[in-house]
Amino acid sequence: MILKNKRMETSELAKVASQVRRDIVRMVHGVASGHPGGSLGCTDLLVSLYFQAMNLKMDDQGSVVFDMSGSGEDLFFLSNGHISPVLYSVLARRGYFPVSELATFRKLNSRLQGHPATAEHLPGIRIASGSLGQGLSVAAGAAYGKKIRNDPHRVYCLMGDGEQQEGQIWEAAAFIPHRKLDNLIAIIDFNGQQIDGPTDVVLNNRDLGAKYEAFGWTVLHMDGNDLDDVASTLQAAQEAGGQGAPVCIIMKTEMGQGVDFMMHTHKWHGTAPNNEQLTAALAQLEETLGDY
């Protein structure tokens, strides 16, 4: 049975976001590998989506229910799969699997693979991602399927800005407006950083908003680390949908948001904190829901 989502007020989201950020740095520290920078930057978005914006399938008690089809609910696809820590934490905190399982991240026999995968049947994951550039196409297929099935729900897809350098992105960017998939909302994590340095230096994407507009998308901009702006922009994106054109949100974020020494650098894209750095990071992030 599907109940209407019990939506969290925006003021409550900050508490969840703080706990998710604690989870991220602890998960990455626990296995001494993983990608904290982008995960911290996208925390506010994922918390807003899963605790407020998305309509999720639930049982009578209001607990989320996962099935692979995702029919009758909104779907989220993470194309930049390396920021799996934020997705795993948000899914666990939302109730898709036990929070204690976050301790198994990237370890042998875990359902929490380094990059999201379906092979281990982790609830909440519908496609493998990690090889960049593929998620928008998969989201397009899911959105197309919802059109064929007359399912009025939406499909969200998060991508990185470095990922925009992949050619397949632009195949999908052309396909989605051409097929009028106005039930799809794409979000680009515009943090300006990638492994080898600033995105403008490695391979300049130029004006991403203008490019998507030229391809036929409705383009919105938001501050991805301002929960109020995220809430209002996602609302605007939902209202802009259903009018023939898909929506692309250019989401300005700070890689490493919430941990001062991880911000304003690409250094923490794929680096784990040591013991001292973990202590310093956790001191900046309030424990709100209880650590795993």
Binding site: M68, S69, G70, S71, L75, A117, T118, A119, R126, I127, A128, S129, G130, S131, G133, Q134, G135, L136, S137, V138, A139, A140, G141, A142, A143, Y144, G145, K146, I148, R149, D151, G167, Q168, E171, A172, A174, F175, H178, R179
Partner: protein, 318 residues
């Protein structure tokens, strides 16, 4: 030697088109995707009868594979179609991550495989696709031999849950498989019983194997001829049962020797029942422009080649 006859030559891709037409009527969940090659894939009837279940993707194969993977979530059964080169090597990473690793119920159906694509030349004549696809965990790889078998395979894979690579071709070839023969994935078909040599053939080479069987019979050699339409999962029982009787093997395929049917058969033999083996396949070479007949002759994919290898492998038994 059992006699096989045919009333007409037809292309295997038209068998695919006929299968899709039937699926359009019988399977409401089947959706067809194509990357700007509708006429080549013979999708006209399916599209005409089911315009809402056809998705034109344009010349953007990587996106097409991802869209197909996403469509499966809604219980739809996507058939993603293009030329074999563009449905395998061009999109290997997309198939690996979004289809095979993610275990999505996508049917990748590709035409113009192998040398018999002809005049377009080596850029389009993929001879490595079986190798790539069979290496992917969980991927089923099928290469039917004629119109009727391709049609039957197309219908059969719609009822099978899991990723499939279905490979067929452009030229007209003898259509000898009974129209009512059911297609069983992974079940080899015994075409002729014989005690002297086993010939395991796939795709267009099955008819050449039958021609070779006739030529061998004239020389007093009884060839056992088996149609291996499914390269993965391979029918090991049928292979071992035959080689236990004949003691030697020839494989025949329109594909590279490296990584093709012959390699798969060699593995089964080496692990279970070592026996002399000869392979009729392209030997570490690209193709070139020419007519299908000229190319098959130049690269040794003929009944005469199978005969020569059969006689040679029989000698190795002794």
């Amino acid at each position: 030697m059992k006699t096989y006859t045919f009333t007409e030559k037809k292309d295997t891709r038209s068998g695919f088109g006929a299968g899709m037409a039937e699926l359009g009527r019988s399977h409401p969940d089947v959706v067809a995707l194509c990357a700007d090659l509708v006429a080549s894939l013979k999708l006209d009837t399916f599209i005409k009868e089911n315009p809402d279940r056809f998705i034109q993707c344009g010349i953007a194969e990587a996106n097409m594979i991802g869209v197909a993977a996403g469509l499966t979530l809604n219980g739809l059964i996507p058939f993603a179609t293009t030329f074999a080169n563009f449905g395998s090597s061009r999109v290997l990473d997309q198939i690996r991550q979004a289809v095979a690793y993610s275990n999505k119920n996508v049917k990748i159906c590709v035409s113009h495989a192998g040398l018999t694509l002809g005049e377009d030349g080596a850029t389009h004549q993929v001879l490595e696709d079986i190798s790539m696809m069979k290496a992917l965990p969980g991927m089923t790889v099928i290469n039917p031999c004629d119109f009727n078998q391709t049609k039957a395979a197309t219908i059969a894979i719609a009822d099978y849950e899991g990723p499939v690579y279905l490979r067929f071709g452009r030229p007209v070839v003898p259509n000898f498989t009974p129209a009512d023969q059911p297609f069983e994935i992974g079940k080899a078909i015994l075409l002729n019983e014989g005690a002297d040599v086993s010939i395991f053939a796939t795709g267009h080479m099955v008819w050449q194997a039958l021609e070779a069987g006739k030529l061998l019979a004239e020389q007093g050699v009884e060839a056992e001829i088996i149609n291996i339409h499914t390269i993965k999962p391979l029918d090991k029982e049928a292979i071992l049962a035959s080689v236990s009787k004949t003691g030697c093997v020839v494989t025949a395929e329109e594909h590279q020797m490296n990584g093709g049917l012959g390699d798969s058969v060699a593995q089964v033999l080496a692990l279970n029942h070592p026996a002399p083996l000869e392979m009729v396949a392209v030997n570490d070479s690209f193709g070139e422009s020419g007519t299908p007949e000229q190319l098959m002759e130049k690269y040794g994919l003929t009944a005469a080649s199978i005969v020569a290898k059969a006689l040679a492998v029989i000698q190795r038994k002794k």
